[in-house]
Amino acid sequence: MFISMHTWFPIFIVILNSLYCTAIEIPKKFQNSNHTNNWAVLVDTSRFWFNYRHVANVLSIYRSVKRLGIPDSQIILMISDDMACNPRNPRPATIFNNAHEQINVYGDDVEVDYRGYEVSVENFVRLLTGRLSPDTPRSKRLLTDEGSNILIYLTGHGGDGFLKFQDSEEVTSQELADALEQMWQKRRYNEIFFIIDTCQASSMYEKFYSPNILATASSLVGEDSLSHHVDSAIGVYIIDRYTYYVLEFLENVHPNSQRTMTEFLAVCPKSACLSTVGVRRDLFNRDPSKVPITDFFGSVRPVQVTTNPINILDTPQRKRKNENKTKVQEKMGYLPQFPVHLVPNDK
């Protein structure tokens, strides 16, 4: 009896605590995300040369996300058309996101997981919900769990309540909302940050009903999302406005940055975007102003904090015993990961 009382008490406290907190404020301790890994699904849904900018959009986000620490194995990149090898491209095998053409976003280490006509509504929904055929390669799977924070970025041509894929089919906002609900029920995510850059983009998140989703869109219903500028050397609109300002912001974010989601959500004011950026917060339990941007754009690494100093000078000397005849193979180990993200990237 005593023992059971002992075990029940803290649980009661926790429940009381949580009830109390939802009413007023979640204590700081609980505000920290308890996610264990980060994934990103980046989709460009439109093909054809005149939609060059959408490919540039998605590759730019890919680049930022990767720079902030999500590894390629946890990024699903879907690109509908091969702009780099389009015969119209005067800069073959490159894609730029700026008329200055400083950064080739289609550089050496871009892993496109779904390309060309593989980018379809069916594949996209199957990817999200995990209903893929068993022989699907690992690189084409979203292997998330209940501890995963997922960044979903969509760009292409949309309308009120749909997003066009490949000029031939479209995903509706309801289908997308249902897919996300299925993900939630299958415990495939912890939190989702949903970004969409299309015309009438906000219509795509209006139907969402699953918890823990923070959504933002480049334009409200009835508005067009516009392109930012033309690269007259390539002869195309090179990037969309919303993504351009997102990138401008992300370029100054580092893996250990303290910037919050609120800053991200305010990244493109109407004066710059010419369209109103839409945000949906009601499904998201945390306060975006206290959520670090790296919760979605960075990657959680298994770090153990210890308060006990380890004296590395006082390493115990191993005595060499030559008389031991049995040859023990020397143990191999991994070197610590090189902190790539801390190296200034002056490309």
Binding site: W49, F50, N86, P87, R88, P92, S232, I234, G235, Y237
Partner: protein, 720 residues
């Protein structure tokens, strides 16, 4: 509402109204149609052009064309070459062109074609086209663009195209090393103006069997029936009719052609570029292409124009603007009317290829001087090349054929257009005027035998006031009359009506109709015969023999056709019979105008405008009546004669020569007009045979029969 043949239907309210006001209504519709067309020039009634095709990305790319020195050099070399070796001949400098294109590392081919001139005595013309293909470096040769220029020998009376050819070569030199071409570019120099282009296009698309005549251009829907083909009747015409143009074979091909730009520049220092769009049978390129060319001319700093609309002229007031728009539209209508392409671009359209011609113009151009032309800065090879470059790079971006924008439109200004939905009502109104008249005739025909009944019913109305009993009595009587039970009083009238019914011979009407159309068909096929007879027995040039042959045929038809209506009958004509013919011909003419107008609005509209007055005025002449009436009949006949197609052409040409040469004496003018008409008819015949132009066929096989029937109607007089 009942059926049109409902016996009770004559009493409907609207029928009575229609009978009363149909004349006024027709006139109003006709005036309304003209008014509608004229109002389309106003800014409120037309629209600004816009790009429908996303893929074009017009003018986004910076110009890199740097071929001005090269172009100048090509120009000078070409001029020297012509002066040295080709001063006296009409032959194209094929070796020079082949050499130059080969030096630019294009795939160069020549193409030979032969024309068996249909109206000459077995004359044969040959020609050579030269073309070089720039293969797209990073894609397969599935699609192509064409840049072409016609070659004109120094002896030609038309402007030279030397600068155009030089510009084309310089552009080829610039474009060859570029790596962004997604389509092949074919650089083509054609000989003998449109003939060379037609031959090349036919060879490119593998049309080996037959030069596209009127029938074959109808596609697979209608094959000429060997039974009906009059050319098989005489061995005289057979050989020529089969094949005029032998396009030969191409040694090298590229992919499907998406668009073509034809260049006609005589010198580099032109003042402005005229964008010519009208093609064969009035077919137009997609509005997106026209729009593209105009927009990119603006961007490249080249002045551009379309007919009377000049990019640099700002109209002073609304009236001027409106008038310019209307005159531009009328210019377009007259060009489309003839159906003759006003540049080599026009032959592409039939193959589903959008094409325009850019013609360089300066002061002293045969087309006339636009206002302020001397104040304009001249263009040079650099600007023209830059314009060509941006146009081609934009076309290079295309993903599919032009299909987004309008194919049927009128241009009141370079930057404004009238769509098919806006201009068709004017044509529909004219047709409606004719249809209203035929409807009115029909209901009056129904009513004809009920005039007596009408009187009665009036009486009945009166008696209705007096009492119920009498009215029922009248009704009974009415019924009796309607069911053809001879009453005591009406027996005579009914008997008469019966007689007329017996003599109303549908067979006779139909036979006459059929014969007249057969005659039209015969006239359509007659020019070959005329030219052969003329050259064989009278040693006349073919245009003279064709013209006079047609004139004689027309005269004979005019004299004899009034008697044709009585081919199968012994007694005199009846009112109802002639009225039925009148109804049929009105419906036919309205249908012809509408259906021709669907394909070539200008032709349909002008046909309707010219023939509708005759159609509306003509009617069944009832014998008797006073002097005024007979004068009126004579006037109708005169109007009908004037509206004979041949008369119209000749008169039109005389008026045109009067405008061109106002100082000459009238006899001279008439001579000139006649010669011009000869030429015009000759051209239309030849165009119909070689290119498949419809004008001559429409005029002879459709307009002429309807005219003959109107003439018959006007010439016949019947007893009431």
């Amino acid at each position: 509402m009942g059926l049109l043949s409902d016996p009770e239907y004559g009493s409907a309210q609207w029928v009575r109204v229609l009978r009363k006001i149909h004349g006024l209504l027709s006139v109003l519709f006709y005036i309304g149609a003209i008014g509608w067309f004229v109002m389309l020039g106003n800014k409120t009634f037309n629209n600004e052009t816009y790009f429908s095709e996303n893929a074009l990305l017009p003018g986004l790319v910076t110009n890199e064309f740097n071929g001005e020195p090269a172009a100048k050099q090509f120009f000078n070399e070409f001029q020297e070459e012509l002066k040295d070796k080709y001063e006296d001949t009409d032959v194209m400098p094929v070796p020079w062109l082949v050499a130059k294109m080969s030096q630019l590392h294009l795939e160069v081919y020549t193409h030979n074609f032969t024309l068996n001139y249909p109206l000459g005595e077995g004359r044969v013309y040959t020609g050579t086209n030269v073309y070089g293909i720039l293969r797209a470096p990073r894609t397969s040769s599935l699609e192509a663009l064409v840049v072409s220029a016609p070659y004109r020998p120094p002896s030609s009376h038309q402007k030279s195209t030397a600068a155009g050819i030089a510009l084309m070569l310089a552009f080829a030199q610039f474009a060859r090393p570029q790596k962004y071409w997604a389509k092949d570019i074919i650089f083509l120099v054609t000989e003998h103006e449109q003939l060379g282009m037609q031959a090349w296009l036919e060879a490119y698309h593998g049309i080996q069997s037959d030069a596209e005549t009127f029938y074959t251009s109808l596609g697979s829907f209608w094959k000429p029936n060997p039974f009906l083909d009059l050319s098989t009747f005489g061995t005289l015409t057979k050989a020529d009719h089969e094949k005029c143009l032998n396009p030969g074979r191409l040694k090298g091909r590229s992919g499907s052609i998406q668009a073509a730009i034809n260049l006609e520049f005589d010198v580099p220092k032109i003042k402005y570029v005229e964008v010519k769009i009208e093609g064969l049978n009035g077919q137009l390129p997609n509005l997106d292409l026209v729009n593209l060319v105009h927009k990119l001319c603006v961007k490249s700093g080249v002045h551009h124009s379309y007919k009377n609309s000049y990019s640099w002229v700002r109209s002073r007031n609304k009236y001027d603007e409106w008038w310019n728009s209307v005159s531009t539209m009328l210019g377009m209508v007259t060009t489309q009317l003839a159906g003759v392409p006003n540049g080599n671009h026009g032959l592409f359209h039939r193959f589903g290829i959008e094409a325009v011609t850019l013609e360089g113009r300066g002061p002293g151009d045969p087309a006339g001087d636009p206002p302020q032309v001397n104040a304009l800065t001249s263009a040079n090879f650099y600007r023209l090349g830059a314009a060509l470059e941006t146009v081609l790079r934009s076309l290079n971006n295309l993903l599919e054929r032009f299909h987004q924008s309008y194919f049927f439109y009128l241009l009141p200004q370079t930057g404004r257009f009238v769509s098919i939905g806006q201009y068709m009502p004017s044509l529909c109104l004219i047709s409606a005027a004719m249809l209203i008249k035929s409807l009115a005739l029909w209901v009056s025909l129904q009513k004809e035998d009920k005039t007596n009944k009408n009187e009665k019913s009036k009486k009945g109305d009166k008696s209705k006031v007096s009492g119920d009993d009498s009215s029922t009595e009248v009704e009974e009587k009415d019924k009796a009359a309607a069911s053809k039970v001879p009453g005591a009083k009406k027996s005579k009238g009914v008997a008469q009506r019966k007689k007329s019914e017996e003599t109303l011979s549908v067979v006779n009407v139909g036979l006459n109709y059929f014969l007249v159309h057969l005659l039209g068909y015969a006239v359509m096929n007659s020019p070959l015969l005329f030219s052969q007879i003329g050259s064989k027995y009278y040693n006349l040039p073919s245009e003279v023999s064709v013209y006079y042959g047609l004139a004689i045929t027309s005269a004979v038809l005019t004299l004899l056709s009034p008697f044709m209506m009585r081919v199968l009958r012994s007694g005199p004509m009846h009112y109802e019979e002639v009225a039925l013919v009148n109804i049929l011909v009105l419906i036919e003419l309205a249908t012809i105008c509408l259906s021709v107008g669907m394909h070539n609005f200008s032709l349909g509209f002008v046909m309707a405008t010219l023939l509708a007055p005759v159609a509306l005025v003509s009617g069944v002449n009832v014998r008797g009546g006073g002097k005024i009436r007979s004068i009126l009949v004579q006037f109708k006949r005169l109007l009908c004669i004037i509206s004979h197609p041949l008369c119209l052409v000749t008169l039109g040409m005389i008026i045109y020569s009067k405008i061109l040469f106002p100082e000459e004496s009238n006899m001279h003018i008439i001579g000139r007009g006649r010669d011009a008409a000869m030429q015009a008819i000759m051209y239309s015949v030849v165009d119909s045979l070689i290119y498949g132009n419809w004008l001559f066929n429409v005029a002879t096989s459709l307009v002429l029969p309807t005219w003959i029937i109107f003439w018959q109607i006007n010439c016949s007089s019947v007893d009431k």
